[in-house]
Symmetry: C2
Subunit: 190 residues, 2 copies
DNA sequence: TAATTTGCCTAAGACCATTAGGCAAACGTA
DNA sequence: TACGTTTGCCTAATGGTCTTAGGCAAATTA
């Protein structure tokens, strides 16, 4: 029997592609084995189980997304950097919906700590350094920015903005303008 | 054989409780039947299939959430209304994590249109009427608000804010203050 | 070339979703 | 109250899923 020459990494990569094609939820050992042209049981040499497979796809996606966001903000600052950063997220989500969904996959604490997750917060923090926020407010702003990016893209991909005017595209730039304005005029604490 | 006296509504309600207990993803016909003390096949008199079950749980959750949000903003305006509205979402998510997850369940266009979804945007719009936004900017603000609420709660529930100071509680009020400030000083379009 | 590793296989167990068909409890009606 | 109808829940069966165990042969190393 000719071997397919698989490896854990290639299996996970194929899993990520499959997620983009049919959605992360549908990525199961049997479906992935079908795509790879092998028997389901053979996957278990490369991956511990279905949960492990999704975890690895999540880790892959987090890395990829961090790489793209990092490249996007290089050499930029202020509203320019904000737009590039936000667009990196949104573009990634549309180009790789399954991988992006994997980004939300719940990781246990240890795995999350070892993932690219912390890189994401460091990048957001770096981005905000272009705005002169009071030290103590920076974390709040990081959390706000993460919330908006995640929330907007999620709602947009669910189609929430596609059945009413104005276009989502337009809202997106207006919202980035509004965030930029907010970051420049962050209110003082009570 | 004594009958359990079930009905579609009671089944869905039990499904919602089960979702809060073990997570929406784990809510399956067999698990729900176990909880109800009946055989799996018997569920199919009340619900079309597993997907239909989750859809109905989603519809229930959307209604409940809309009811609570609506009650929260009654008689309030401005920052006061904003806080009550936002807290209604966050409190619901923490009290009913499974139902809240169901809120994100992808509904097909027709079902979504007939759900309480539109009520949510109408409420958000009503809330924003307390701020004097330019007509054309209102939709953008509605979308921003929805994004922040959804995004923040999702990240918080995933534990993203629980491993670093300051507390999520603190960020939450600061972010609401910031949003309030932004809505009062919404930037003019380019 | 011989020995070892390992990628992929077949086989099997346990569970799940779903459909078909049956019985008896509950209900409407006379 | 008695009868016919409805229907809630059942058992049985099909085909799919995940996962483990054990085996063979291809690839790798000595």
């Amino acid at each position: 029997m000719a071997r397919a020459g698989l490896t854990a990494e290639r299996v996970v990569r194929a899993g990520a592609e499959l997620a983009d094609e049919i959605g992360l939820e549908q990525v199961t050992p049997s479906e992935l084995a079908r795509k790879l042209g092998i028997k389901t049981a053979s996957l278990y040499s490369h991956v511990k189980n279905a949960h492990d497979l999704k975890t690895r796809i999540a880790l892959l996606a987090l890395e990829e997304l961090a790489d793209q966001a990092s490249a996007a903000i290089a050499g930029r600052a202020g509203r320019d950097a904000l737009g590039a950063f936000a667009n990196a997220y949104r573009d990634y989500a549309f180009q790789h919906p399954g991988r992006f969904a994997a980004t939300r996959f719940r990781l246990d604490a240890a795995t999350a700590a070892a993932s690219a997750g912390p890189r994401h917060s460091r990048m957001t923090r770096a981005l905000l350094r272009g705005y002169d926020l009071p030290e103590l407010q920076e974390t709040h702003a990081v959390r706000l920015l993460g919330s908006v990016l995640n929330g907007y893209v999620e709602l947009e991909m669910a189609g929430s903005f596609s059945h009413s005017a104005p276009s989502s595209e337009e809202s997106w730039t207006e919202i980035l303008d509004a965030l930029d304005s907010l970051l420049r005029n962050w209110p003082a604490s009570a």
